[in-house]
Protein backbone atom coordinates (compact mmCIF):
# COMPACT_ATOMS: atom_id res chain seq x y z
CA UNK A 1 0.00 0.00 0.00
CA UNK A 2 1.63 3.10 -1.23
CA UNK A 3 -0.44 5.85 0.37
CA UNK A 4 0.73 7.45 3.65
CA UNK A 5 -0.22 5.43 6.77
CA UNK A 6 -2.66 8.04 8.08
CA UNK A 7 -4.88 7.65 5.01
CA UNK A 8 -7.57 4.95 4.64
CA UNK A 9 -6.46 1.86 2.74
CA UNK A 10 -9.90 1.60 1.09
CA UNK A 11 -10.81 4.13 -1.55
CA UNK A 12 -13.80 6.37 -0.96
CA UNK A 13 -15.93 4.65 -3.62
CA UNK A 14 -15.52 1.37 -1.72
CA UNK A 15 -16.40 3.02 1.59
CA UNK A 16 -19.56 4.41 -0.02
CA UNK A 17 -20.36 0.92 -1.32
CA UNK A 18 -19.92 -0.45 2.23
CA UNK A 19 -22.41 2.07 3.54
CA UNK A 20 -24.87 1.29 0.76
CA UNK A 21 -24.66 -2.47 1.40
CA UNK A 22 -25.20 -1.95 5.15
CA UNK A 23 -28.35 0.06 4.38
CA UNK A 24 -29.64 -2.58 1.99
CA UNK A 25 -29.04 -5.35 4.52
CA UNK A 26 -31.04 -3.42 7.12
CA UNK A 27 -33.82 -2.86 4.57
CA UNK A 28 -33.81 -6.58 3.66
CA UNK A 29 -34.39 -7.61 7.28
CA UNK A 30 -36.81 -4.78 8.04
CA UNK A 31 -38.98 -5.94 5.13
CA UNK A 32 -39.00 -9.45 6.61
CA UNK A 33 -39.78 -8.41 10.15
CA UNK A 34 -36.41 -9.51 11.52
CA UNK A 35 -35.43 -7.41 14.55
CA UNK A 36 -32.05 -5.68 14.73
CA UNK A 37 -30.37 -6.24 18.10
CA UNK A 38 -27.12 -5.33 19.84
CA UNK A 39 -25.28 -7.50 22.34
CA UNK A 40 -22.09 -6.93 24.36
CA UNK A 41 -18.71 -6.93 22.69
CA UNK A 42 -17.09 -7.58 26.09
CA UNK A 43 -18.13 -10.75 27.85
CA UNK A 44 -17.14 -12.62 31.01
CA UNK A 45 -17.32 -15.92 29.10
CA UNK A 46 -15.66 -16.81 25.83
CA UNK A 47 -15.71 -19.21 22.93
CA UNK A 48 -14.02 -22.56 23.67
CA UNK A 49 -13.29 -23.69 20.09
CA UNK A 50 -9.53 -24.34 19.94
CA UNK A 51 -9.16 -22.63 16.56
CA UNK A 52 -10.68 -19.35 17.73
CA UNK A 53 -8.55 -17.07 19.91
CA UNK A 54 -10.27 -14.37 21.96
CA UNK A 55 -8.65 -11.08 22.91
CA UNK A 56 -8.77 -10.54 26.68
CA UNK A 57 -8.79 -7.23 28.48
CA UNK A 58 -8.89 -6.37 32.20
CA UNK A 59 -11.85 -4.53 33.67
CA UNK A 60 -11.41 -2.77 36.98
CA UNK A 61 -14.04 -0.53 38.41
CA UNK A 62 -17.38 -0.62 40.18
CA UNK A 63 -18.52 -4.23 40.56
CA UNK A 64 -15.02 -5.59 40.16
CA UNK A 65 -12.81 -4.55 43.03
CA UNK A 66 -9.94 -6.88 42.13
CA UNK A 67 -10.13 -6.62 38.39
CA UNK A 68 -11.86 -9.02 36.04
CA UNK A 69 -10.88 -10.47 32.68
CA UNK A 70 -13.35 -9.70 29.92
CA UNK A 71 -13.18 -11.24 26.46
CA UNK A 72 -13.92 -9.53 23.17
CA UNK A 73 -16.47 -11.69 21.38
CA UNK A 74 -15.47 -13.67 18.29
CA UNK A 75 -19.14 -13.68 17.24
CA UNK A 76 -22.35 -12.51 18.92
CA UNK A 77 -23.79 -16.05 18.90
CA UNK A 78 -24.13 -16.74 22.63
CA UNK A 79 -26.03 -13.62 23.71
CA UNK A 80 -28.18 -13.73 20.56
CA UNK A 81 -29.28 -17.24 21.55
CA UNK A 82 -30.15 -15.90 25.00
CA UNK A 83 -32.40 -13.36 23.30
CA UNK A 84 -34.00 -16.11 21.23
CA UNK A 85 -34.61 -18.20 24.37
CA UNK A 86 -36.15 -15.10 25.95
CA UNK A 87 -38.70 -14.93 23.13
CA UNK A 88 -37.20 -12.28 20.84
CA UNK A 89 -38.34 -14.01 17.65
CA UNK A 90 -36.16 -13.66 14.51
CA UNK A 91 -33.19 -11.35 15.06
CA UNK A 92 -30.12 -10.02 13.27
CA UNK A 93 -27.05 -8.04 14.22
CA UNK A 94 -24.24 -6.21 12.42
CA UNK A 95 -21.47 -6.96 14.88
CA UNK A 96 -17.84 -5.89 14.99
CA UNK A 97 -16.04 -9.05 16.15
CA UNK A 98 -12.46 -9.82 17.14
CA UNK A 99 -10.24 -12.83 16.51
CA UNK A 100 -6.68 -12.86 17.73
CA UNK A 101 -3.99 -14.23 15.44
CA UNK A 102 -5.92 -13.78 12.18
CA UNK A 103 -4.36 -11.40 9.67
CA UNK A 104 -3.75 -11.74 5.95
CA UNK A 105 -5.23 -10.95 2.59
CA UNK A 106 -8.60 -12.35 3.69
CA UNK A 107 -8.38 -11.77 7.41
CA UNK A 108 -8.25 -8.80 9.75
CA UNK A 109 -8.30 -9.42 13.52
CA UNK A 110 -11.28 -7.05 13.78
CA UNK A 111 -14.06 -7.39 11.24
CA UNK A 112 -17.79 -7.11 10.69
CA UNK A 113 -20.11 -10.08 10.94
CA UNK A 114 -23.72 -10.07 9.84
CA UNK A 115 -25.34 -12.69 12.03
CA UNK A 116 -28.99 -13.66 11.94
CA UNK A 117 -31.37 -16.24 13.39
CA UNK A 118 -34.63 -17.48 11.95
CA UNK A 119 -37.10 -19.19 14.27
CA UNK A 120 -38.70 -22.25 12.67
CA UNK A 121 -36.10 -22.46 9.86
CA UNK A 122 -33.89 -25.45 9.23
CA UNK A 123 -30.52 -25.32 7.41
CA UNK A 124 -32.13 -25.75 3.96
CA UNK A 125 -34.55 -22.88 4.42
CA UNK A 126 -31.84 -20.62 5.79
CA UNK A 127 -29.58 -21.42 2.80
CA UNK A 128 -32.48 -20.21 0.62
CA UNK A 129 -32.58 -16.93 2.49
CA UNK A 130 -28.78 -16.50 2.38
CA UNK A 131 -29.03 -16.98 -1.39
CA UNK A 132 -31.74 -14.32 -1.68
CA UNK A 133 -29.75 -11.80 0.35
CA UNK A 134 -26.36 -12.34 -1.29
CA UNK A 135 -27.83 -12.49 -4.79
CA UNK A 136 -29.72 -9.24 -4.19
CA UNK A 137 -26.65 -7.47 -2.79
CA UNK A 138 -24.38 -8.56 -5.66
CA UNK A 139 -26.96 -7.98 -8.43
CA UNK A 140 -25.47 -5.94 -11.25
CA UNK A 141 -21.96 -6.51 -9.90
CA UNK A 142 -21.42 -10.27 -10.24
CA UNK A 143 -23.17 -12.55 -12.71
CA UNK A 144 -24.21 -15.66 -10.85
CA UNK A 145 -25.57 -18.96 -12.11
CA UNK A 146 -27.94 -21.09 -10.06
CA UNK A 147 -26.41 -21.89 -6.66
CA UNK A 148 -25.14 -25.39 -5.99
CA UNK A 149 -25.34 -27.40 -2.80
CA UNK A 150 -22.92 -30.19 -2.03
CA UNK A 151 -22.50 -32.26 1.07
CA UNK A 152 -19.06 -32.23 2.66
CA UNK A 153 -18.71 -35.82 1.50
CA UNK A 154 -19.70 -35.07 -2.11
CA UNK A 155 -17.25 -32.18 -2.11
CA UNK A 156 -14.28 -34.35 -1.10
CA UNK A 157 -15.31 -37.13 -3.45
CA UNK A 158 -15.66 -34.75 -6.38
CA UNK A 159 -12.41 -32.83 -5.89
CA UNK A 160 -10.08 -35.33 -4.25
CA UNK A 161 -11.74 -38.73 -4.62
CA UNK A 162 -11.70 -39.19 -0.84
CA UNK A 163 -14.48 -39.98 1.64
CA UNK A 164 -13.96 -37.51 4.49
CA UNK A 165 -16.03 -39.58 6.92
CA UNK A 166 -14.30 -42.91 6.43
CA UNK A 167 -10.71 -42.22 5.45
CA UNK A 168 -7.80 -42.73 7.85
CA UNK A 169 -5.21 -40.06 8.55
CA UNK A 170 -2.66 -42.06 6.54
CA UNK A 171 -4.98 -42.11 3.51
CA UNK A 172 -5.71 -38.39 3.87
CA UNK A 173 -1.95 -37.72 3.95
CA UNK A 174 -1.47 -39.88 0.86
CA UNK A 175 -4.33 -38.01 -0.83
CA UNK A 176 -2.66 -34.68 -0.10
CA UNK A 177 0.63 -35.92 -1.55
CA UNK A 178 -1.18 -37.30 -4.62
CA UNK A 179 -2.72 -33.89 -5.29
CA UNK A 180 0.55 -32.03 -4.84
CA UNK A 181 -0.50 -30.37 -1.60
CA UNK A 182 2.56 -29.60 0.56
CA UNK A 183 2.19 -31.23 3.98
CA UNK A 184 3.13 -29.03 6.94
CA UNK A 185 5.49 -30.41 9.57
CA UNK A 186 3.93 -31.52 12.84
CA UNK A 187 0.54 -32.68 11.53
CA UNK A 188 -1.15 -35.00 14.05
CA UNK A 189 -1.33 -38.74 13.42
CA UNK A 190 -4.49 -39.26 15.46
CA UNK A 191 -6.79 -36.40 14.40
CA UNK A 192 -8.34 -36.23 10.93
CA UNK A 193 -9.77 -32.71 11.24
CA UNK A 194 -6.54 -30.72 10.63
CA UNK A 195 -5.95 -32.93 7.58
CA UNK A 196 -9.45 -32.23 6.30
CA UNK A 197 -8.84 -28.50 6.89
CA UNK A 198 -5.55 -28.76 4.96
CA UNK A 199 -7.18 -30.54 2.02
CA UNK A 200 -10.15 -28.16 2.02
CA UNK A 201 -8.12 -24.95 2.13
CA UNK A 202 -5.32 -26.04 -0.22
CA UNK A 203 -7.01 -28.46 -2.58
CA UNK A 204 -10.65 -27.44 -2.83
CA UNK A 205 -11.41 -23.92 -1.62
CA UNK A 206 -9.78 -22.08 -4.55
CA UNK A 207 -12.20 -23.85 -6.93
CA UNK A 208 -15.37 -23.27 -4.91
CA UNK A 209 -18.06 -20.80 -5.85
CA UNK A 210 -16.78 -19.99 -9.32
CA UNK A 211 -19.57 -17.97 -10.92
CA UNK A 212 -22.15 -19.28 -8.47
CA UNK A 213 -22.83 -19.63 -4.77
CA UNK A 214 -21.57 -22.98 -3.49
CA UNK A 215 -23.06 -24.25 -0.25
CA UNK A 216 -21.35 -27.08 1.62
CA UNK A 217 -23.56 -28.88 4.14
CA UNK A 218 -23.62 -31.94 6.41
CA UNK A 219 -20.24 -31.58 8.08
CA UNK A 220 -18.40 -34.35 9.94
CA UNK A 221 -19.75 -34.63 13.50
CA UNK A 222 -16.33 -33.58 14.80
CA UNK A 223 -16.77 -30.23 12.99
CA UNK A 224 -20.40 -29.64 13.97
CA UNK A 225 -19.41 -26.74 16.28
CA UNK A 226 -22.80 -25.44 17.53
CA UNK A 227 -24.95 -27.35 15.05
CA UNK A 228 -27.33 -30.21 15.73
CA UNK A 229 -26.26 -33.70 14.82
CA UNK A 230 -28.50 -35.63 12.47
CA UNK A 231 -28.37 -39.34 13.29
CA UNK A 232 -27.25 -41.54 10.42
CA UNK A 233 -24.32 -43.57 9.23
CA UNK A 234 -22.27 -41.60 9.95
CA UNK A 235 -24.10 -38.89 11.87
CA UNK A 236 -23.46 -35.43 10.41
CA UNK A 237 -23.56 -31.91 11.75
CA UNK A 238 -26.41 -29.80 10.35
CA UNK A 239 -23.94 -27.08 9.53
CA UNK A 240 -23.42 -25.28 6.23
CA UNK A 241 -20.88 -22.95 4.72
CA UNK A 242 -21.17 -20.63 1.74
CA UNK A 243 -18.30 -20.05 -0.72
CA UNK A 244 -18.15 -17.57 -3.56
CA UNK A 245 -15.17 -16.91 -5.83
CA UNK A 246 -13.01 -19.13 -3.63
CA UNK A 247 -13.86 -17.09 -0.52
CA UNK A 248 -15.48 -18.56 2.57
CA UNK A 249 -18.37 -16.18 3.07
CA UNK A 250 -20.78 -17.59 5.65
CA UNK A 251 -21.23 -20.34 8.22
CA UNK A 252 -24.64 -21.51 9.43
CA UNK A 253 -26.18 -24.03 11.80
CA UNK A 254 -29.45 -25.69 12.51
CA UNK A 255 -28.87 -24.63 16.08
CA UNK A 256 -28.17 -27.09 18.84
CA UNK A 257 -30.71 -26.55 21.59
CA UNK A 258 -29.67 -29.34 23.96
CA UNK A 259 -27.97 -27.73 26.97
CA UNK A 260 -26.33 -30.97 28.16
CA UNK A 261 -24.90 -31.75 24.73
CA UNK A 262 -23.70 -28.15 24.40
CA UNK A 263 -21.94 -28.36 27.79
CA UNK A 264 -20.26 -31.64 26.75
CA UNK A 265 -18.95 -29.99 23.56
CA UNK A 266 -17.67 -26.93 25.43
CA UNK A 267 -15.89 -29.14 27.96
CA UNK A 268 -14.39 -31.36 25.25
CA UNK A 269 -13.09 -28.23 23.50
CA UNK A 270 -11.50 -27.02 26.71
CA UNK A 271 -9.84 -30.43 27.11
CA UNK A 272 -8.47 -30.04 23.56
CA UNK A 273 -7.27 -26.54 24.47
CA UNK A 274 -5.44 -27.79 27.53
CA UNK A 275 -3.79 -30.55 25.49
CA UNK A 276 -2.45 -27.93 23.05
CA UNK A 277 -1.24 -25.61 25.76
CA UNK A 278 -3.96 -23.06 24.96
CA UNK A 279 -5.79 -21.17 27.71
CA UNK A 280 -8.93 -22.84 29.01
CA UNK A 281 -11.89 -20.48 28.57
CA UNK A 282 -14.73 -19.80 31.01
CA UNK A 283 -17.94 -21.45 29.77
CA UNK A 284 -20.91 -19.24 29.04
CA UNK A 285 -23.18 -20.48 31.82
CA UNK A 286 -25.84 -17.94 30.85
CA UNK A 287 -26.05 -19.49 27.38
CA UNK A 288 -26.31 -22.98 28.90
CA UNK A 289 -29.07 -21.76 31.25
CA UNK A 290 -30.88 -20.20 28.30
CA UNK A 291 -30.67 -23.47 26.33
CA UNK A 292 -31.95 -25.35 29.37
CA UNK A 293 -34.86 -22.90 29.58
CA UNK A 294 -35.62 -23.63 25.93
CA UNK A 295 -34.19 -22.37 22.65
CA UNK A 296 -36.89 -22.22 19.96
CA UNK A 297 -36.17 -24.45 16.96
CA UNK A 298 -34.11 -22.14 14.77
CA UNK A 299 -31.29 -21.83 12.28
CA UNK A 300 -28.63 -19.12 12.35
CA UNK A 301 -25.85 -17.92 10.10
CA UNK A 302 -22.89 -15.54 10.27
CA UNK A 303 -21.72 -13.83 7.09
CA UNK A 304 -18.41 -11.99 6.72
CA UNK A 305 -19.55 -8.55 5.66
CA UNK A 306 -16.07 -7.32 4.65
CA UNK A 307 -15.59 -10.28 2.32
CA UNK A 308 -18.98 -9.60 0.78
CA UNK A 309 -17.82 -6.02 0.11
CA UNK A 310 -14.62 -7.44 -1.43
CA UNK A 311 -16.71 -9.44 -3.90
CA UNK A 312 -19.09 -6.56 -4.62
CA UNK A 313 -16.19 -4.13 -5.18
CA UNK A 314 -14.01 -6.63 -7.05
CA UNK A 315 -11.15 -6.26 -4.55
CA UNK A 316 -8.56 -8.95 -3.78
CA UNK A 317 -7.64 -7.98 -0.25
CA UNK A 318 -9.75 -7.26 2.82
CA UNK A 319 -7.52 -4.24 3.49
CA UNK A 320 -8.96 -2.65 0.36
CA UNK A 321 -12.48 -2.59 1.80
CA UNK A 322 -11.68 -1.36 5.33
CA UNK A 323 -10.82 2.23 6.15
CA UNK A 324 -8.15 1.32 8.68
CA UNK A 325 -7.14 -2.36 8.87
CA UNK A 326 -4.61 -3.70 11.41
CA UNK A 327 -1.60 -2.08 9.70
CA UNK A 328 -3.21 1.37 10.02
CA UNK A 329 -5.35 0.94 13.13
Amino acid sequence: MASPAWRPSADLATLRLRAELLQRIRAFFAARGVLEVETPVLSAAAVTQPHLASFATPYSGPGSRHGQTLYLHTSPEFPMKRLLAAGSGCIYQMARVFRDGEAGRRHNPEFTLLEWYRVGFDADRLMDEVTELVTALLAGRLTLEEPERLSYRELFQRHLDLDPHRTSVAELAAGAARHGIPIPPGMPADDADPWLDLLLTQGIEPYLGQGRLTFIHDYPASQAALARLRPGDPPVGERFELYLSGLELANGFHELGDADEQRRRFEAENVARRARGLPVMPLDESLLDALAAGLPDCAGVALGFDRLVMLAAGKDAIQEVMAFPLERA
Binding site: Q49, H51, L52, G101, E102, A103, G104, R105, R106, H107, I181, P182, I183, P184, P185, G186, M187, D193, P194, L196, D197, L198, L200, T201, Q202, E205, Q223, A225, E241, E248, N251, G304
Partner: protein, 189 residues
Protein backbone atom coordinates in the same frame (compact mmCIF):
# COMPACT_ATOMS: atom_id res chain seq x y z
CA UNK B 1 20.28 -18.72 15.18
CA UNK B 2 16.92 -17.48 16.39
CA UNK B 3 13.72 -19.32 15.59
CA UNK B 4 11.00 -17.50 13.71
CA UNK B 5 7.26 -18.02 14.10
CA UNK B 6 5.10 -18.04 10.97
CA UNK B 7 3.76 -14.74 12.36
CA UNK B 8 7.17 -13.20 11.62
CA UNK B 9 7.37 -14.52 8.07
CA UNK B 10 7.76 -11.78 5.50
CA UNK B 11 9.43 -11.39 2.17
CA UNK B 12 13.22 -11.64 2.51
CA UNK B 13 13.33 -13.55 5.81
CA UNK B 14 16.05 -16.25 5.68
CA UNK B 15 15.05 -19.63 7.11
CA UNK B 16 16.44 -23.18 7.23
CA UNK B 17 14.48 -25.98 5.52
CA UNK B 18 15.81 -29.48 4.87
CA UNK B 19 19.33 -28.35 5.77
CA UNK B 20 19.44 -25.55 3.19
CA UNK B 21 19.02 -21.79 3.54
CA UNK B 22 15.92 -20.29 1.88
CA UNK B 23 14.44 -16.81 1.57
CA UNK B 24 10.72 -16.23 2.07
CA UNK B 25 9.23 -14.80 -1.13
CA UNK B 26 5.52 -14.75 -0.24
CA UNK B 27 3.52 -15.65 2.83
CA UNK B 28 -0.24 -16.16 2.82
CA UNK B 29 -2.42 -16.78 5.88
CA UNK B 30 -5.13 -19.35 5.15
CA UNK B 31 -7.76 -20.36 7.68
CA UNK B 32 -11.18 -21.89 7.55
CA UNK B 33 -13.47 -19.97 9.92
CA UNK B 34 -13.73 -22.86 12.34
CA UNK B 35 -10.58 -24.82 11.55
CA UNK B 36 -6.81 -25.07 11.61
CA UNK B 37 -4.89 -22.02 10.36
CA UNK B 38 -2.04 -22.47 7.89
CA UNK B 39 0.61 -20.29 6.30
CA UNK B 40 1.18 -21.02 2.64
CA UNK B 41 4.70 -19.84 1.95
CA UNK B 42 6.67 -19.45 -1.26
CA UNK B 43 10.41 -19.85 -0.61
CA UNK B 44 13.55 -19.51 -2.76
CA UNK B 45 16.57 -21.73 -2.21
CA UNK B 46 19.54 -19.40 -1.74
CA UNK B 47 21.93 -21.98 -3.12
CA UNK B 48 20.05 -23.11 -6.24
CA UNK B 49 17.47 -20.29 -6.66
CA UNK B 50 14.76 -22.95 -6.95
CA UNK B 51 11.35 -21.64 -5.82
CA UNK B 52 8.76 -23.88 -4.19
CA UNK B 53 5.69 -23.77 -1.95
CA UNK B 54 5.66 -24.99 1.62
CA UNK B 55 2.84 -25.00 4.14
CA UNK B 56 3.09 -24.54 7.90
CA UNK B 57 0.58 -24.70 10.71
CA UNK B 58 0.21 -21.09 11.81
CA UNK B 59 2.23 -20.30 14.90
CA UNK B 60 4.80 -23.04 14.30
CA UNK B 61 8.43 -21.97 14.35
CA UNK B 62 11.29 -22.49 11.93
CA UNK B 63 15.01 -22.06 12.50
CA UNK B 64 16.45 -18.89 11.03
CA UNK B 65 19.32 -19.11 8.53
CA UNK B 66 22.53 -17.23 9.35
CA UNK B 67 22.74 -15.53 5.96
CA UNK B 68 24.28 -12.08 5.48
CA UNK B 69 25.40 -10.01 2.51
CA UNK B 70 28.89 -8.49 2.74
CA UNK B 71 31.04 -6.39 0.41
CA UNK B 72 34.29 -8.22 -0.35
CA UNK B 73 37.20 -7.43 -2.61
CA UNK B 74 38.01 -10.06 -5.23
CA UNK B 75 41.73 -10.91 -5.15
CA UNK B 76 42.59 -13.70 -7.57
CA UNK B 77 41.73 -17.13 -8.89
CA UNK B 78 44.20 -19.97 -8.24
CA UNK B 79 42.73 -22.23 -10.88
CA UNK B 80 40.32 -23.89 -8.47
CA UNK B 81 39.22 -21.28 -5.94
CA UNK B 82 38.31 -17.62 -6.12
CA UNK B 83 39.87 -15.65 -3.26
CA UNK B 84 38.13 -12.67 -1.63
CA UNK B 85 39.12 -10.33 1.16
CA UNK B 86 37.15 -8.27 3.66
CA UNK B 87 38.60 -4.77 3.09
CA UNK B 88 38.05 -3.84 6.75
CA UNK B 89 39.33 -6.92 8.59
CA UNK B 90 41.62 -8.25 5.84
CA UNK B 91 40.06 -11.66 6.51
CA UNK B 92 40.27 -13.85 3.41
CA UNK B 93 37.54 -16.15 2.13
CA UNK B 94 37.50 -18.60 -0.77
CA UNK B 95 34.68 -19.73 -3.04
CA UNK B 96 34.56 -22.57 -5.53
CA UNK B 97 33.01 -22.69 -9.01
CA UNK B 98 29.63 -23.86 -7.65
CA UNK B 99 29.40 -20.66 -5.59
CA UNK B 100 30.83 -18.20 -8.11
CA UNK B 101 28.97 -19.75 -11.05
CA UNK B 102 28.40 -17.79 -14.24
CA UNK B 103 29.58 -14.49 -12.86
CA UNK B 104 33.23 -15.59 -12.75
CA UNK B 105 33.76 -13.95 -16.13
CA UNK B 106 32.86 -10.52 -14.65
CA UNK B 107 35.30 -10.78 -11.74
CA UNK B 108 38.24 -8.48 -12.19
CA UNK B 109 40.98 -8.37 -9.61
CA UNK B 110 40.42 -5.79 -6.83
CA UNK B 111 36.71 -5.36 -7.74
CA UNK B 112 34.30 -5.01 -4.81
CA UNK B 113 31.56 -7.66 -4.97
CA UNK B 114 28.54 -8.47 -2.89
CA UNK B 115 29.05 -11.93 -1.39
CA UNK B 116 26.29 -13.76 0.46
CA UNK B 117 27.65 -15.68 3.44
CA UNK B 118 25.90 -18.63 5.08
CA UNK B 119 27.38 -19.50 8.47
CA UNK B 120 30.35 -17.34 7.46
CA UNK B 121 31.00 -19.28 4.24
CA UNK B 122 30.33 -17.82 0.76
CA UNK B 123 27.03 -19.07 -0.66
CA UNK B 124 26.77 -16.90 -3.74
CA UNK B 125 28.60 -13.98 -5.36
CA UNK B 126 26.98 -11.11 -7.23
CA UNK B 127 28.99 -9.21 -9.81
CA UNK B 128 28.91 -5.40 -9.74
CA UNK B 129 26.14 -4.16 -12.08
CA UNK B 130 28.73 -2.45 -14.26
CA UNK B 131 32.35 -3.41 -14.87
CA UNK B 132 35.08 -1.60 -16.78
CA UNK B 133 37.46 -3.87 -18.73
CA UNK B 134 40.10 -3.82 -21.44
CA UNK B 135 39.50 -5.53 -24.77
CA UNK B 136 42.27 -8.04 -25.41
CA UNK B 137 41.06 -9.33 -28.74
CA UNK B 138 38.68 -8.13 -31.46
CA UNK B 139 38.77 -7.96 -35.24
CA UNK B 140 39.72 -4.58 -36.69
CA UNK B 141 36.48 -2.73 -37.46
CA UNK B 142 35.54 -0.84 -40.55
CA UNK B 143 36.63 2.79 -40.17
CA UNK B 144 33.85 5.36 -40.28
CA UNK B 145 31.13 2.94 -39.28
CA UNK B 146 29.55 4.41 -36.16
CA UNK B 147 26.05 3.02 -36.59
CA UNK B 148 26.46 0.42 -33.84
CA UNK B 149 24.23 -1.96 -35.76
CA UNK B 150 25.47 -5.50 -36.00
CA UNK B 151 28.74 -5.16 -34.13
CA UNK B 152 31.38 -7.79 -33.55
CA UNK B 153 32.57 -10.02 -30.71
CA UNK B 154 35.29 -8.75 -28.38
CA UNK B 155 37.17 -10.76 -25.76
CA UNK B 156 37.81 -8.97 -22.47
CA UNK B 157 40.71 -9.34 -20.05
CA UNK B 158 38.77 -11.85 -17.91
CA UNK B 159 37.88 -13.98 -20.93
CA UNK B 160 34.28 -12.71 -21.15
CA UNK B 161 33.04 -12.13 -24.70
CA UNK B 162 30.67 -9.25 -25.47
CA UNK B 163 29.36 -7.71 -28.68
CA UNK B 164 30.79 -4.28 -29.33
CA UNK B 165 30.23 -1.73 -32.13
CA UNK B 166 32.53 -2.06 -35.14
CA UNK B 167 34.43 1.14 -34.29
CA UNK B 168 35.68 -0.21 -30.93
CA UNK B 169 39.28 -1.36 -31.19
CA UNK B 170 41.66 -3.79 -29.58
CA UNK B 171 43.17 -2.41 -26.35
CA UNK B 172 40.30 -0.03 -25.68
CA UNK B 173 38.55 0.07 -22.29
CA UNK B 174 34.77 -0.43 -22.22
CA UNK B 175 31.92 -0.41 -19.71
CA UNK B 176 29.67 -3.51 -19.64
CA UNK B 177 26.33 -4.12 -17.92
CA UNK B 178 26.82 -7.52 -16.23
CA UNK B 179 23.05 -8.08 -15.82
CA UNK B 180 22.54 -8.20 -19.59
CA UNK B 181 26.11 -8.86 -20.71
CA UNK B 182 25.84 -5.85 -23.05
CA UNK B 183 28.34 -3.18 -24.04
CA UNK B 184 27.45 0.24 -22.61
CA UNK B 185 30.17 2.65 -23.74
CA UNK B 186 33.85 3.27 -24.27
CA UNK B 187 35.73 4.57 -21.23
CA UNK B 188 38.53 7.13 -21.50
CA UNK B 189 41.58 5.96 -19.58
Amino acid sequence: MANYSTNEFKSGLKIMLDGDPWAVVENEFVKPGKGQAFNRVKVRNLRTNRVLERTFKSGDTVEGADVVDVELQYLYNDGEYWHFMDPQSYEQLTADAAVVGDIAKWLKEEAICQVTLWNGVPLSVAAPNFVVMTIVETDPGVRGDTSGGGGKPATLETGAVVRVPLFVQNGEVIKVDTRTGEYVSRVKE
